[in-house]
Amino acid sequence: MIATELYEMLKKVQEPKGYFFNKDKEWVLTILGDLLINKDRYGYMSCPCRLAAGNREKDADIICPCQYRPEDIKEYGSCYCNLYVSSQWNEGRIERQYVPERRPKEKSGF
């Protein structure tokens, strides 16, 4: 699979749930390409913005879409990677802040 195919596939599934891709498509395709690199490396699409342990159980909370996405989008309008965002974020109707790491330190299994 290539990033543009993944883009179309995920867009269909995620947008109806209210999770939109960042309108910076170049940014999005780069991240999707990195997700595919991680799929090759680890066998699953671990968040490319975080260091994976390489063990599916340990990385379960950071397999994209990560467990922290709903809270991050609620609070900041964007996930940690700026991959998934709210429509308000895309339209510039909320201030764009750097999304801090929400994953608890104890969860990192590396």
Binding site: W27, T30, I31, D34, I37, N38, P48, C49, R50, L51, A52, C81, N82, L83, Y98, P100, E101, K105, S108, F110
Partner: protein, 83 residues
């Protein structure tokens, strides 16, 4: 102007890539280590070092002189660099 710049990054991380690009675009010299590309003891050794600067061990962790910046926070980076 801060002295040497050191960054702990991931090869796949979008914010890390943005930070590297920012440094290149501004003509700033920097050293970096893509921690995800390390293996075994090398990786653990570097992670121990990252933990000293950033207990959460998130990326990028950027060290500019005495300043530690976690994440691609452009205004903080500019301030630390004096640009």
């Amino acid at each position: 102007m801060a002295s040497k710049i050191k960054m702990f990054t991931l090869s796949t991380c979008s914010h890390c890539k943005a930070t590297k690009k920012f440094m290149h675009d501004n003509g700033i010299d920097f050293d970096y280590i893509d921690v995800d590309l390390l293996q075994g003891d090398d990786k653990q050794k570097i992670l121990q070092e990252v933990e000293k600067y950033n207990p959460q061990r998130s990326f990028p962790t950027i060290i500019i002189g005495d300043t530690i910046i976690i994440g691609f926070r452009e205004s903080d980076i500019r301030e630390a660099l004096g640009i």
